[in-house]
Structures are given as C-alpha cells and as structure tokens.
C-alpha cells in the first residue's frame, strides 16, 4: 500500500537537490570553517553562501542571520538572549497564548529569573488582536513574541501590525516563523521585526538546521557560550552540511514559493470545503483564509483524535492530532483551548498538512476514506448516541 503523507508539520522529506548540495560537506569538504587552511576556508565559503541564501529568503542582510540547531533553539535564543540583553529596560515579556512550547517554556524559565510574562489571548480563529498586545505593554516591557503562523491550526498572525504597536513603544519584537518560512513570503523589513526564528525542515531542508534573524544593532546574549562562531553569538563548531542544506532549501523555497503555494492552496481548500460538506458536525479549526497554504485542520465532534489517527494510519494515511490522548502530557492542545474550544471538541482534533507533491488523488483518497472512519467511531461513541437522541 502506498503511504499518503499528510503530516508536514511533523516532518518533511529532504529535497533531492538539498541532499545533493549538502553531501559533499559530509566527507569531501569537511574542514572546520574556523580553520585558516584551505580546507577550512572552503567550508567557510559554503557557510557564507548559505547565509546569503537564507538572508535572501528573509530580505535581510547576511550578517543578520545566526545559524542554530533547531527552531526550538532559535526560539529559546531569541527569548532568553533578547530579554536578558534588555534587562536594564525592564523584565516584562508579552507572548501569545498559542505560541510553540519552546517560546512559552522559555518565558517560564525567564520567570524563574524574576521576569514577568503577560499571555495575550486569541480569538476563535486563533488570531491575536494587536490591540490586546498594546494593552499588555508596560513601561518595563522589553520583548514581545508572537508567531507568524501556528502549526496546529495554520492561522497566520498579524505580525506586521503587532510590530507597529511595538515600534511605537520602542519594544523589541520576535516572531517564530518556523511554520511559515518557505510557505508564505517573508520580508523582515516589511514585517519590521527585530528577530525571527526559522528551521529548514518545514521547507524540505535537513533537521538540525535552523536560524535566528536578529536585526543589525539589536543586542542579544548568546544561549550557547564558547568560541567566536556566528560573530560570538552562538558558539560551537558549525554543522556545515546542515547549514549548506538550509541554504539550498531556502534558495529552492524562494524560487518556487509562489508556484508551490498556488498548488497547495487548491488542495487545502478542497479539503477544507469538502470534509465538512460530506460529514455533519465537523468544524474547521483556525482561520478560514488567513492560514498556511499547506494546512487543513478540523475538529470532528463526538469522537477522539487518536482513534481517528490510528484508523487513517491503517489505511495508509498519516495525519496528526492535538487531542489529549495523542500528547505525552495527555492534555488537549493549548492552542485549541486558547481558541475557546471545549475539551470534548478539542479531543476530536485532526490536522492534515500537505507536503510538496501531494497528488490531488491523495486528497480524494482522504475524502473517501475518512467519512466511513468517522461513522464507525461515532457508532461506538456515547456522545454521538446522546446527540442523535437529542436531535429527535
């Protein structure tokens, strides 16, 4: 059985051109970019070239890009590094309720060092209201962090507007663009953010390759201290193959972003429109239009996400879910709860995220396979029985 993969948000395959670009740096050009000999300098050139490519994707200068090992590292680096560098101004942070755990938990870690955090809410589509950010700002606020797009519900946040609010109050703003980079156009100058996290894997680069953009002139303290790699802001010998892979992936993403987007949007919209049409009591989660092109997410009432996931898996379809039962902590997704969904509905979470080259027939296969699975699980659900009785 051919697998049909709808879990972009968990992992994507590395693009063949990316693999081809990075492989020579595993064994052939293996030098350390910090070495002065030719082997080292060849590696340094490759790192510099990758930095230019990432900068081109973001509309930044190359020396504003710091390579890291993961989106989570970039987020931790931004929160801790910027907040600590701005301590003289104050020790108050503002984050949204739907941030990735690497932002929320970094903020919590800062709280143990005497920082305070205000968590701003989202509406039922998962959107932050810039006015709420403005209300949360205090004289001692030094940093705001609101993601560019949410991976669980696909919602794109009004970061440029939030940045305007921050700029007027001279507060730094960071955005987690891990889910957005490579999927929607990003221009750090237009967004007017001070820092931005991205990772290679969501746009078909290798895992273990990520970056943090930090606007020139903004002070950040290193998270990893040691040598003078990355301008002294991130120590540790450069992972040259990963960095080269990130660079190549950024180049490919930039070149094919528009074409890829149109293709993904068509399939996404078919899923978003068709599933609720074919099955009653299925709701779309996230924003109907302001959402990632590859992302379709739902809550199916009266049944639970893990059971759906397992049945889809047995039919060769890979998806993810934000239900409590699929999480290690056994808690429903903080994103869905922040959007005001009740626990029972959040339990029915199912997320389809398309990867490049997902054939239209795979979407048809989902639309054929999924409704009978829902019917089967509902037939054994006491909540569904109750609903049918009340309907009568």
């Amino acid at each position: 059985m051919r697998r049909r993969y709808f879990d972009h948000i968990a992992a994507t395959p590395v693009h063949a051109d990316v693999l081809a670009a990075l492989l020579p740096f595993v064994r052939e050009t293996f030098g350390n970019p910090q070495s002065l000999h030719s082997d080292g300098q060849a590696a340094l050139m490759a790192v510099d070239e990758a930095r230019e490519k990432v900068a081109a994707l973001l509309g930044s200068k190359p020396d504003e890009v710091i390579f890291t090992s993961s989106g989570s590292e970039s987020n931790n680096f931004a929160l801790k590094g910027l907040a600590q560098a701005q301590q003289a101004r104050g020790k108050h942070l503002v984050v949204s309720a739907v941030e990735h755990p690497s932002v929320l938990n970094a903020a919590k870690s800062l709280e143990r060092q005497g920082f305070r955090t205000t968590v701003v809410p989202v509406d039922r589509f998962g959107r932050v209201d810039p006015a709420d950010v403005e209300k949360a700002l205090m004289p001692e606020t030094s940093l705001v962090s609101v993601m560019l797009a949410n991976s669980e519900v696909g919602t794109i946040e009004p970061v440029a507007e939030i940045a305007r609010v921050c700029r007027a109050r001279k507060v730094l703003i960071h955005t987690d663009a891990v889910a957005a980079a490579g999927a929607i156009p990003i221009d750090v100058k237009a967004l007017d953010v001070d820092a931005l996290s991205l990772a290679a894997n969501p746009f078909y680069g290798p895992r273990g390759a990520a970056a943090l953009y930090v606007r020139k002139g903004v002070r950040i303290l290193p998270l990893i201290e040691g040598g003078l790699q990355e301008g002294g802001r991130r120590a540790g010998s450069e992972d040259v193959p990963a960095i080269v892979g990130l660079g190549k992936a950024a180049e490919l993403a930039g070149e094919r972003l528009e074409a890829r987007r149109a293709e993904a949007v068509a399939l996404r919209d078919r899923l978003l429109a068709e599933l609720p049409r074919r099955v009653e009591r299925v709701v779309v989660t996230g924003h109907p239009t302001e959402r990632l092109p590859y992302h379709a997410s739902f809550c199916v009432e009266f049944i639970e996400g893990e059971a759906m996931l397992l049945h889809l898996d047995m039919q060769g379809i890979s998806v993810s879910s934000g239900s409590a039962c699929t999480s290690k902590s056994l808690k429903a997704s903080h994103v869905l709860l922040a959007m005001g969904l009740d626990h029972a509905l959040a339990q029915g979470s199912v997320v389809f995220s398309l990867i490049e080259g997902t054939p239209a027939e795979d979407v048809d296969a989902v639309l054929d396979a999924f409704p009978p699975i829902i019917a089967r699980l509902r037939k054994m659900s006491p909540l569904w029985t109750k609903y049918l009785q009340e309907k009568k």
Partner: protein, 191 residues
C-alpha cells in the same frame, strides 16, 4: 506503541452497542480526561447474559472497553466485580504508562453498571451515575515535568524533580504551583 492485542480489539471491538432493555447502565470518565465509557448489562439469574458498551476515546480506551465486555460476559456478578483495571491491562498485553489511568477505566464502568443493576433490584429507580474520578486515579498520576509517578493520596509534591504541583484552576491539568499553567498558560497560586 500498542500491543497486537490492543490493536486487534481497537480494530475489531467486540460487543459495541446499546442495550435498550438493559438491566443496568454504568458510565465512567469525562471528555476533559479524554475518555468516556458507557456499559450496558443484561442479567440472567446471577450471571451477565450480555454486555454492550459505547466509548468516546483513544485506541486504548476502545480496546479496554472491548476486552472488559469479552471478559465479563457469562461471568457471575461476583466474578465480574472482581475484574480490575490492572487485570484488563494485563490481558491486553500491557498499556503505555501514560494511558494506564486515563484510558483504563473499563472495569470501573462495568462495576458501575452492576451497581446500577443492584440498586434497581432493591427498588430504587437509580439514576445512571457518571463516575468522573475513577479508582486509582491518584496512584497512577505522573509528574508532567519528569514523568515520575506521583505518590498516592492527592500528594502534590513531585519527589523526583522537587516540584510543587497543583491542579490548574482553569484547565484541571497537573502543573507547577505559582507559575503559569504548563498546559493552558493560566495564572496559578502558590500551593
């Protein structure tokens, strides 16, 4: 993640359904916890002539319900009352640790149905009660920070990672006292 036996019961659950003329009905769980089970029993003499169930929940919850129904049919009420959640998990070839307290409540639901039957026998038109906190809840809780089991009896201190734990007033999740909730971000008070 799941044993073959769990997957078999999940894929082909036995005894799914509603008994319209049930002699006893029992319900356990709530959607916050993730799983809800309703058991229906038919009693002939002292034995369970038929058992049916409906379950809202994950793969483990469905498999557990199915296994309990299979184990219970034909047993005397006394024997059925002796089926424990632990025995059910064993019969299924084990369950993942984090599913033990949340999804493994089939025996509780069966016992609730039998109790409901007994109540009806003595003449009280007993309403079907929903047990939200099932047996062994505290014993099976795990610290959300280090996954160590948390001691029984509502103890709220994780001895493994030395964290004061409370139930978040907003979402009910187990989180660290005095810090924004790990799960929903709500403010919590110092324990």
């Amino acid at each position: 993640m799941y044993s073959e036996k769990v997957m078999d019961h999940f894929q082909n659950p036995r005894n799914v359904g509603v008994l319209a003329d049930a002699d006893g009905v029992g319900q356990v769980g709530n959607p916050v916890c993730g799983d809800m089970m309703t058991f229906y029993i038919k009693v002939k003499g002292t034995r369970l002539a038929d058992v049916k169930f409906q379950t809202f929940g994950c793969g483990a919850a469905i498999a557990v319900s199915s296994m309990v129904s299979e184990m219970a049919i034909g047993k005397t009420l006394e024997e059925a009352m002796a089926i424990t959640n632990e025995v059910v998990a064993e019969e299924l070839g084990g369950l993942p640790k984090n599913k033990l307290h949340c999804s493994n409540l089939g025996a509780d639901a069966l016992h609730a149905a039998i109790q409901n039957y007994k109540d009806r026998q003595v003449g009280f038109a007993a309403p079907v009660k929903t047990i939200e906190e099932h047996e062994g809840h505290e014993e099976e809780c795990h610290c959300p920070y280090c996954e160590s089991p948390i001691a029984a009896g509502g103890e709220t201190f994780c001895t493994a990672c030395k964290v004061n734990l409370i139930e978040c007033p907003a979402c009910g999740g187990i989180t660290k006292a005095g810090e924004p909730c790990l799960h929903c971000g709500a403010e919590t008070k110092q324990a």
